[in-house]
Symmetry: C2
Subunit: 328 residues, 2 copies
Amino acid sequence: MSRQAVDLQKAIIAVDLGGTNVRVAAFLADGRLLNWQDQPIQAHKGPEHGLTLIFESIEKVLIESQLPLQAIGVGSTGPLDRRRGCIQNPYTLPGWADVDIISPLKSKYQVPVAFENDADAAALGEAWMGAGRGVERLMMVTIGTGIGTGFVLNGKIYRGVESEHPEGGHILIDLNGPACYCGARGCWESLVSGPAIANFARQQTLVHSGYLFNQTQGAAEKITAAMIFAGDQAGDELCVQMVDRAGRYIGLGLVSLMMMLLPDCIVLGGGVMRSFERLKPRIEEVIARHAVIIPALKVGLQPAQLDQQAGIYGASRAAINLLEELLA
Amino acid sequence: MSRQAVDLQKAIIAVDLGGTNVRVAAFLADGRLLNWQDQPIQAHKGPEHGLTLIFESIEKVLIESQLPLQAIGVGSTGPLDRRRGCIQNPYTLPGWADVDIISPLKSKYQVPVAFENDADAAALGEAWMGAGRGVERLMMVTIGTGIGTGFVLNGKIYRGVESEHPEGGHILIDLNGPACYCGARGCWESLVSGPAIANFARQQTLVHSGYLFNQTQGAAEKITAAMIFAGDQAGDELCVQMVDRAGRYIGLGLVSLMMMLLPDCIVLGGGVMRSFERLKPRIEEVIARHAVIIPALKVGLQPAQLDQQAGIYGASRAAINLLEELLA
């Protein structure tokens, strides 16, 4: 490719592939979102069906944009094998393992295709057009079904050895905590992901009346994290305690992140962090108490701004970064 | 300064300033150590006395080198205020706080002076001429009186917000662990620094006979980490258990580092890690069990190679990096 700049008159296609939905968008390189669409991926129908859906969506948003295509970025639920273009997640996308989904895009559109883990894509999206704009060292922590981290350094995704994606959601917090599939006990995700919050409540609740008991008619297995946050809003004492506890554990994980990396800003996203304002005082309390030897107060704490769109913004920015590398 | 390369015919002076000794060396930019000397800093005599000692040492190694000077690098026990050139450590260098030790060097020698935390300097030294040569992402962990971390990314020291030094030795490991001056309970340093290892033994030992009891005539306060490692070598059961425990906690901290950053290589230095070969199987066991979702086996574990010289190598490399920045 000859030496030239990223083209502001050509489209970038962004794909955000989750276990449930796939979102496809057309962007300009200056960050303008031109149009997008979202549809169920129907993961059980397999990767061939999924790829057909993705191709159809791309055609649609591209035609609407009325622009020629210059690059594609794909953000996907991981773990990924980025070199081979495969998603290795038997739980959310069974049957997709070892299927190269990147080469078909490259060969059909004849443009560079970037491929990133969704936590990294979200971080890149927030760094580009969200809560972390202009920040040199941005850590994004997504707390939802799991806890994912993405570290963006000078506008580029930080990668580990052999370009592998680190899993900062599994740093250790409490050796006496619950067992996690990561191999540890009491890692961050095992303590305060959405399911972990609900799980803890399930163990507490049967002996109580109150909000959760009433909502579930005592069937503890029906408790969700969202229900606990709703109970907290309603002033239920047990729910208030559990949300305070969640804030405390979120804060403890952030203490370790700060000790390790002292980023300029930590952006907090995901379902649990929709309650950012509620959790913030608890989180700040823990940080103030536990991180006295580092300038923790210089580390900004921000709620994510792009919400569900972080993935497509990030996938788009990943495509631009790839173009810039190729053009350099 | 005009655009030119770092001069291979001029000396770089490296200063490694600790609470007990100051080491001064002359280097060539290709990493050759020309000569060095080490003397007690006599910290209680204050910074003026200390600076005189440093100036005398510099004169001596510089004359011996028979080369003109092009830059100075200082690595020092922290915390530092790098902008103001001050050491803010009331314990190891009392009376030095708020005294600018960098400006006198600049004004006397009229060359650029780099100033780095000792953990960062050691990491840079190992990355340049030690166990981490050629590594893209090098984490150095120094386990001695405390636990210090230095992260070298593409040959440059990683810095946190406003260029502050992160304190990876204080990541959380066990909420039920000992209280630490960092504000937390059960941070890494509180569990497995040299003093932490000794402290744990002091609490176990009075009810035992055996190696430690015999060495101290039952005066538990005399137990040191070195004594425990010696007892382990001698086959004392309690000491063996405590060294195994130390290996386990070292491993747990490394699990969190790997989850967060997946470096290519972790270099382990400091007094405790002189027993690298003894601790290695315990450390590897913990990593293999706890870090199953990341490619932890790709992360190399290496003993430090430069030992007590890591600081001067790193200070020298910091001076070269500063020269390169200024010449760029």
